[in-house]
């Protein structure tokens, strides 16, 4: 039984007991007093009457008169005069007056009163005895009234006590509930601290729990710092801190394969010319400083722009990836200017050449490098600090304008020109854990189903991502209701910024509570970093309904998510750039293992995305991830990747 209820019952029991006890005790003691009083009255009155009768010198008529007079002027039930031989000489009697108390009360409190007896004499002759019996009904009257009064008073006191107790209990209950909630959220992976309450026992409890949470945060921060060190070791170049060649390539592959992001993107290649010669001429330390300056100049863009990343490809070559159309040439020119000013400080004849490329994302990495290298070669031939742009292959967006796209997307949603594609996420035993379901949309009526790479930029531009994501969630819930499999859908970061989005999702989820328990929603890692509060709020509203919340494309940014331990997430999917090549590279494997340990300690599940290599798969199982997705996983399941679901 709950603690509160126990306390209430105890209180109720005590009040009732005291009520009944007091009423009973007062009734009993009063009955005793009244009974004794009445008995004494009987005896004393008998004695007085006998005394008076004994002075009449045996005159019977006088004695009878005395008896009658006493009876008439007093409150008696009967007066009897018995002669010495026991025969009745004279009596006066009336029936007993009934009491106003109810019959059951009279039966409960019997009052046994004997008549008063006294001896009558005439000189030396015994003239008999007199018996006096008073009316006794008033005893019960008084008892009844006093019992009612005391019961009423005690009931009032009891009610006041109850009100007081309720106030006090409420004061205790609130901090108790807070403490319970804190414990509950710890179980859920939410590391909160709460204000200490004034109740001493609870104060110690909340103090202890807060300390524990603070310590866990400290541990987490230490782990994050350790992880950052591992990451640097696995992914970064020692001198400059930029990603090394392998990491840059992996990031490039991953970025090309991603479904969100603009259609046209750019890359800048930068080369410090004649590095060997510079080493000999200026000495290694100076050249290293120069390289660091170049790296800082290049790194200023990833720090400011989302999705941008840079790398040092080899001793003299740097690369910068720009996920936006039309900025490659400007960026290269700006870099060139900045370096032109800063590099001469290190020594004479330090030159860089830059080549910029802008292409649609659908091209492969080799095509990118090919075009960029060609541009760089031309720049080197042109001169110092020269910038050359590779001619872009022009396949722009169908230049139709925002209004048309809005119409197309709206129609696709309304007329159900959409379908969910399924990619399995499998575990160690090749069992499907859940299905990832990106949306394909038919923009042209009777056209082909376009993948997210095509329609997502349009939706972002038209600010319709909230509608699309709500539609996706509805489709997923229907699909789950049909076949009962767990599914995860992607939520665009822009949807979080829409004010009513969370409310719409909640309504959808309310309508199918059974299906909701098998639904997961994932957001890209940048959204978790930038819109942490919105993500947390969405989690707070949806997770109690059974929906799972996760982060996808997670990698180096995990240590930057402050309060990851408080975010209220259920799983994390590691980006391909983090898990590719784990089999061959011990540092990367150590990094992944460290990530898994840290995320596990926060009660999060860890999955790996974009896994293609079977050796990588084995290495990932050794790192103890919970599941794997990507081309290899889809091949394992056997059904063609892209089994459709309308």
């Amino acid at each position: 039984m709950s603690l509160m209820r126990q306390i209430w019952l105890l209180l109720l029991g005590v009040v009732l007991l005291s009520l009944i006890g007091s009423a009973a005790v007062s009734a009993v003691s009063m009955r005793q007093v009244l009974q004794t009083q009445l008995q004494l009255k009987n005896s004393d009155n008998a004695l007085s009457l006998a005394l008076a009768m004994s002075q009449q010198h045996g005159d019977e008529s006088l004695m009878e008169l005395l008896v009658a007079a006493q009876f008439d002027s007093g409150y008696y039930q009967s007066l009897l005069w018995r002669k010495a031989d026991g025969k009745l000489a004279f009596e006066r009697r009336v029936p007993a007056v009934p009491s106003v108390a109810p019959a059951w009360f009279v039966a409960l409190t019997p009052v046994a009163i004997a008549p008063g007896v006294a001896q009558v004499s005439d000189g030396w002759r015994a003239a008999g005895s007199i018996e006096v019996l008073s009316q006794s009904a008033y005893v019960h009257d008084e008892l009844w009234r006093s019992t009612l009064r005391s019961a009423g008073l005690l009931a009032l006191v009891g009610m006041l006590a109850g009100v007081f107790a309720m106030l006090v209990l409420r004061r205790i209950r609130r901090p108790l509930d807070n403490a319970v909630q804190q414990a509950q959220s710890l179980v859920d992976g939410n590391f909160l601290t709460i204000a200490e309450s004034k109740v001493p026992e609870l104060q110690r409890l909340t103090q202890a729990m807060n300390t524990m949470v603070v310590r866990m945060r400290g541990m987490f921060e230490a782990q994050a710092a350790q992880l950052e060190a591992l990451r640097v070791q696995a992914q970064c170049d020692g001198l400059t801190g930029l990603s090394h060649r392998r990491q840059f390539l992996a990031q490039l592959e991953s970025s090309l394969a991603r479904e969100d992001g603009p259609d046209e993107v750019g890359m800048v290649l930068l080369r410090l010319r004649d590095l060997q010669d510079l080493n000999l001429r200026l000495g290694r330390p100076t050249v290293d400083r120069a390289l660091v300056t170049v790296a800082n100049a290049v790194n200023s863009y990833p720090e400011r722009v989302l999705g941008c990343f840079a790398g040092r490809l080899n001793g003299a070559d740097f690369a910068l990836w720009l996920p936006a159309p039309g900025v490659a040439q400007e960026t290269a020119l700006a870099l060139s200017e900045a370096l032109r000013i800063s590099l001469p400080a290190f020594g004479p004849h330090i030159h860089v050449s830059l080549g910029a490329v802008e292409m649609p994302r659908s091209n492969r990495a080799s095509a990118w490098f090919g075009a960029a290298d060609a541009a760089l070669a031309r720049a080197e031939a042109s001169g110092n600090f020269a910038v050359e742009l590779a001619a872009p292959a022009v396949v722009g967006l169908p230049a139709q304008g925002e209004r048309v796209w809005r119409q197309q997307i709206g129609d696709a949603i309304k007329q159900r020109g959409t379908r969910l594609v399924q990619f399995p996420v499998i575990d160690r035993g090749n069992q499907v854990q859940h299905l990832e379901c990106p949306l394909q949309m038919r923009l042209e009526p009777n056209g082909a189903f376009e993948p997210a790479q095509r329609w997502l930029p349009l939706a972002v531009r038209c600010r319709l991502t909230a509608d699309v994501d709500a539609h996706v969630v509805a489709l997923a819930l229907e699909a789950i209701a049909r076949d009962g499999q767990h599914r995860c859908v992607n939520i665009a970061p822009a949807s979080l910024l829409d004010g009513g989005f969370t409310a719409r999702l909640r309504d959808l989820v309310f309508q199918s509570p059974q299906a909701a328990r098998k639904l997961g929603m994932e957001v890209a890692e940048p959204a978790a970093i930038n819109s942490f509060d919105l993500l947390y709020e969405m989690g707070r509203q949806l997770r109690p309904l059974g929906v799972k919340l996760g982060i996808e494309h997670a990698g180096s940014g995990l240590s930057q998510i402050e309060r990851l331990y408080q975010a209220g997430l259920d799983y994390v999917k590691l980006d391909a750039s983090v898990v590719q090549g784990v089999a061959g590279d011990a540092a990367r494997a150590a990094f992944v293992r460290g990530l898994v340990i840290m995320l596990r300690s926060l009660a999060l599940k860890v999955y790996a995305e974009g896994v293609t290599d079977a050796m990588d798969v084995q290495a990932l199982w050794d790192c103890d991830v919970d599941g794997i997705t990507g081309p290899w996983a889809s091949a394992q399941i056997g059904s063609s990747s892209g089994r459709v679901n309308r």
Partner: protein, 219 residues
């Protein structure tokens, strides 16, 4: 466990009932008298032993001899002194053993002691009365108390008095004028179970003395 508690409670109640009930049935009890006497001193003990002998002997005799025996015993063993001299109070009704312990008492002490002893010897209470009288001695009148024995309800009583050595009929005592008489009849009838140590028992002197008589084993 509940059953054992109930059993224990019921045993307790039975004992309490027996204890209270037994008080109703106490009659003349030698053991109690000696216990009570031992608290009052060696003199009381000696006197009580003698009294017990007298009572036992008297219970076998007929009425007249019984009266004489008791009357003589107390007239011999108690000297007449006022309550002021003996107890330091204006008026004090002593129980029989208290009077024997002191060896001194006044008129009501004699009457009470004789009443108690006669009851213990088996005389029915209805035949005995203590009587307030006015006595004329040497020309002056005094308040006095004597014990009267009625062989039959309407008969002339026999008077046991400390002023006169023998038991006389009332007609032979013209110096006494009766005013009022009483005894212990009707005071204990039908009152139900008496609880030990009821403080209301001590409300009047007569009741107080009756209680003391009971405690000393006379009743």
């Amino acid at each position: 466990m509940v059953r054992s508690v109930v059993q224990w409670l019921s045993r307790l109640l039975i004992l309490a009932g027996l204890a209270s009930g037994s008080q109703n049935v106490i009659a003349w009890e030698a053991g109690r008298m000696l216990d009570a006497a031992s608290e009052l001193g060696p003199r009381a003990v000696a006197a009580a032993a003698q009294l017990q002998g007298v009572i036992e002997h008297a219970s076998t005799q007929d009425a007249a001899a019984r009266l004489t025996a008791v009357n003589d015993f107390f007239n011999r063993h108690i000297e007449f002194h006022t309550d002021q001299e003996v107890w330091g109070q204006q008026d004090f009704w002593a129980s029989p053993l208290q009077a024997l312990a002191k060896g001194r008492g006044d008129c009501e002490d004699y009457a009470i002691a004789k009443y108690a002893s006669l009851l213990a010897a088996g005389t029915p209470a209805a035949r005995l009365r203590l009587v307030y009288v006015r006595v004329r001695r040497a020309g002056s009148t005094q308040a006095h108390m004597v014990l009267a024995y009625y062989a039959r309800p309407n008969a002339e009583p026999l008077i046991l008095d400390n002023l006169v050595p023998g038991v006389e009929t009332a007609s032979k005592r013209p110096d006494l004028t009766p005013v009022f008489s009483f005894n212990g009849e009707g005071l204990w009838q039908g009152v139900g179970a008496r609880t030990a140590g009821n403080p209301l028992e001590r409300l009047s002197r007569w009741r107080d003395v009756l209680e003391k008589m009971r405690a000393e084993g006379f009743l």
